[in-house]
Every structure is written in structure tokens, then in C-alpha cells.
């Protein structure tokens, strides 16, 4: 399955958060992102903690 990355110059797509979705995983992500908007500053946490 390993293959080289060959599109490394192409910009990432602009993806706007959809207003609603039937996709359960995307829906959960959108809910969490809306919660995150309450944080005045989002900080990064240590990865060796769940």
C-alpha cells in the first residue's frame, strides 16, 4: 500500500464547515468545534494523556 507522495505542491482545498450533515463522525466533529469556539484561546495538550 506504500506509495510516494506526488501531489506535494498542490494547495489544500478550502473546506467550509457545513451547516448540517447526516454523517455521524463529521456531525460529532462539528459539535466539538462549536464548543471550542467558546474558548478565548485554544491550547495544545500533551499527547501522552488521553
Amino acid at each position: 500500500m506504500t506509495f510516494p507522495v506526488d501531489d506535494t505542491h498542490i494547495p489544500l482545498p478550502e473546506i467550509a464547515p457545513p451547516d448540517q450533515t447526516d454523517h455521524p463522525v463529521l456531525a460529532a466533529i462539528l459539535t466539538e468545534l462549536r464548543d471550542r469556539q467558546q474558548d478565548p484561546l485554544v491550547v495544545a495538550h500533551y499527547e501522552d494523556a488521553p
Binding site: I15, P17, D19, T21, V25, A44, H45, D48
Partner: protein, 399 residues
């Protein structure tokens, strides 16, 4: 205790007075400095840093109280309304739950804010009685496992070579029956095992969240499956870790329900949708974690020890220094700079704002330091592009 000089970036080159520090919000407190396991890949006990040998095996109560007072000072000074406390080791439950409970109590009594306390354990000492007491005290439990079957955990053995899996599986079963106390599973990737087998076997343990961690590595010590070479943005190149993670992502994304949270994937998706990250693995958010060792030394995250001996040291301790002083340490400050800490390659990279150069620890190269792309550079780009592609298609369909 430092035996090796720190590298030029960030130690000699960064002016730490030129940025506004972000207060710590996550305190990683070492309860025990030893572990009952001897995992063959452990960066702490099998890596280049042997500093743990010089420290007390267990944090004395006097040190716990001093740490709690220092945290309270930090919380007051910065008017924090919530902090996270991670009870860590070694194995924090090595002698049972009492020291963990005492440390969490000391912090909660001292501070005037919300405290989310979590103990991160290998599970082998998580008896039913220990879990009852932790749960009653509102301490969540996170498990470290390499998968949900014995074969996945073959590298997790005790000092006599006996497998940790039977006791760890019993712990996972106990936790599945106590979802409020179950924080999740941390799983270090092993390319030798099938990603879908690992993912599905972990799901069977019913964790509320999983994170897949890249093995700690750098340009001097590349991870298994990636050739040694000078730091840089090498393309084209094989991406075994990106492929492994992309396979798990597809299974997770296509499940038809949210089976569990997967931090790395959620953070990458969030970044692609324009939100900042809460994880150090990706993105450009300021790092808000600090470690206190069993002797009261204030340190940067343990994973830095995989780079060189003394890499996590700051020379500060809770008896003589405040956490505000630690915020001015070059190693701490460098992790709060966002784009300003990135290498040229990352600044010009089309996935740079999402990848963020990857985990800081994985950027290290001897002689220069931490201003390089990640040693997982191509794997990260592969995964970011894969998630972008899937997310774009799903988002389009949602409109």
C-alpha cells in the same frame, strides 16, 4: 543534571522575552519514577536519557504539597478557571492508588478552579478496588495499549519478560463497565501489525476515545520503516505511517456511527475546517503542558528524552521557581510561538497550517535542534491530504 549541551535552536537563538507566554493549563505530575513494565520500545527507560535513575522512585508528600501550592499560584496569577492534571509515571499505580489520590487531593485543595484529573496507566495494577477508589474521587483513567489483542501487546512485558496483556485486558474490561471513569486508550503505532486489526480490536474494548501515537523518533534516530537521512522535506518517499493511519481513518469515517473519538483524526479534520488544534501532534496552537518530576524538578514533556540526554530539563524546580519562570525557558517558549518556530520547509509547505511541522519532538536533529520538518514529514502530508480529500467529499454531500 544536564550532561549534554542543548542545541542552538531554541536554546541559543530564541529571545524568550520577545513573546507573550501562554499560561500552563496542563500539569503532568510524576507519581512514580519507576515502572513495573519494561516495554522494548519505551523512550523513557530504553532511550538515551537515564535521568530517571537519579530521582526518587516516588514523589514525597512534601513535594506534592509544594507542587500544589505552585499550581495554585499559577492559577491565581493568571485567573485560570480550569486546569488539567495528569498523574503520570513510570507507572503511577505502581504501589496502588493512594499516592495518586493524595496528589490529586493536594492539588484540588490548593487551587480555586475546576480540575480534571486523569491517571495514565499500563493497567496492570488497576484492580477493581483501585478503580473504585479512583472513580469515587473523580479521577479518570487512561490506558496505554498497543492494540486490543495479546499479539499486539507482545512488546509490553515486565522485567521478567512476562506479558502485561492479561492484566491490562482485565483493566480494560473493568473500565468499559465504568464509562464515566474511562478516559480512553493511547496506542503507539507498530507497522508490523495490521492497522484494521488494531483498530477493530481496540473498539471491542469500548473506549470513549483513542489516540494513535507515532513512535518517538527524530532525524538522528528515525523510526522503524523510515530510512536515515539529513533533515528536510524529502519527496517522493514511502509513507508507511501515513498509509497505516489513512487505513484506520477510512474505517472510522465509514463506520456509519461515531464508534469512538480518535484525537489525531478529529484534530486534523478540525484544522481543515478552520479551527485551531488542541493536540501537540498537529497544528500551531501554543503548548500549555508542563511536567513535574518526583524530585520537584520542572521539566518539559518526557517525550523530549527520546532526542538526547537532558533534553527535557529546564534547571528549574518547584522549591525555588514558579511556573511563570518556566514559561520563560527557551524550550517552553519555542513551543508557544506557532509559525515562528517552524523551519523554512514548513513555512513554505502547502499543508503547513494543518500539519504545523508535526510533534516538536520529532523535528530534532543533532547539532542544530528543533527547527526542522518532522521526521514523519511525508507521512503527515499523506495523512492530511487523505483526510482533506475524504472531508471535502463528505462536506460537499452535506450541503
Amino acid at each position: 543534571m544536564t550532561t549534554h549541551p542543548h542545541p542552538p535552536w531554541p536554546y541559543a537563538l530564541l529571545d524568550t522575552t520577545a513573546h507573550r507566554p501562554v499560561p500552563f493549563r496542563q500539569f503532568v505530575l510524576k507519581v512514580h519514577g519507576r515502572c513495573n513494565l519494561d516495554c522494548t520500545y519505551c523512550y523513557l527507560y530504553q532511550g538515551p536519557d537515564h535521568g530517571w535513575r537519579d530521582r526518587p522512585a516516588r514523589t514525597p508528600e512534601r513535594t506534592m504539597r509544594r507542587v500544589a501550592d505552585r499550581i495554585a499560584e499559577h492559577v491565581r496569577g493568571h485567573r485560570l478557571d480550569a486546569i488539567r492534571v495528569e498523574l503520570h509515571g513510570g507507572e503511577p499505580l505502581l504501589t496502588g492508588p493512594d499516592p495518586v489520590l493524595a496528589y490529586a487531593d493536594a492539588v484540588r485543595e490548593a487551587v480555586d478552579c475546576r480540575v480534571t484529573a486523569t491517571v495514565q496507566t499500563n493497567g496492570t495494577r488497576l484492580t477493581a478496588g483501585a478503580l473504585d477508589r479512583l472513580a469515587a474521587a473523580g479521577i479518570r483513567v487512561g490506558l496505554s495499549l498497543d492494540g486490543g489483542r495479546a499479539a499486539h501487546n507482545a512488546r509490553r512485558v515486565d522485567h521478567a519478560g512476562r506479558p502485561a496483556w492479561p492484566a491490562a485486558r482485565a483493566a480494560a474490561e473493568r473500565l468499559a463497565a465504568r464509562p464515566r471513569a474511562y478516559a480512553g486508550i493511547l496506542c503507539t503505532i507498530d507497522l508490523a501489525v495490521d492497522p484494521l486489526d488494531v483498530y477493530r480490536s481496540l473498539l471491542a474494548l469500548r473506549p470513549p476515545g483513542v489516540d494513535f501515537l507515532l513512535p518517538h523518533a527524530n532525524w538522528d534516530r528515525p523510526p522503524p520503516g523510515i530510512p536515515g537521512r539529513p533533515p528536510g522535506r524529502h519527496r517522493p518517499t514511502p509513507t508507511p505511517y501515513g498509509d497505516w493511519l489513512a487505513a484506520v481513518f477510512d474505517a472510522w469515517w465509514d463506520e456509519g456511527r461515531l464508534s469512538t473519538r480518535i484525537r489525531l483524526f478529529q484534530e486534523i479534520a478540525g484544522l481543515l475546517l478552520g479551527s485551531p488544534s488542541r493536540a501537540e501532534a498537529v497544528g500551531l496552537s501554543p503548548m500549555a503542558a508542563v511536567v513535574v518530576e518526583t524530585d520537584g524538578a520542572i521539566e518539559q514533556v518526557d517525550s523530549l528524552r527520546s532526542a538526547y540526554e537532558g533534553a527535557s530539563e529546564t534547571g528549574l524546580d518547584v522549591f525555588r521557581h514558579s511556573f511563570d519562570q518556566a514559561l520563560r525557558h527557551p524550550g517552553v517558549a519555542a513551543r508557544q510561538l506557532g509559525e515562528r518556530a517552524l523551519a523554512e520547509e514548513c513555512l513554505g509547505c502547502p499543508v503547513g497550517k494543518v500539519c504545523g511541522g508535526g510533534n516538536y519532538v520529532h523535528r530534532y536533529a543533532p547539532g542544530t535542534g528543533f527547527r526542522h520538518p518532522s521526521v514523519y514529514c511525508a507521512d503527515l502530508e499523506r495523512l492530511v491530504r487523505h483526510i482533506a480529500h475524504r472531508l471535502q467529499r463528505t462536506s460537499r454531500a452535506a450541503r
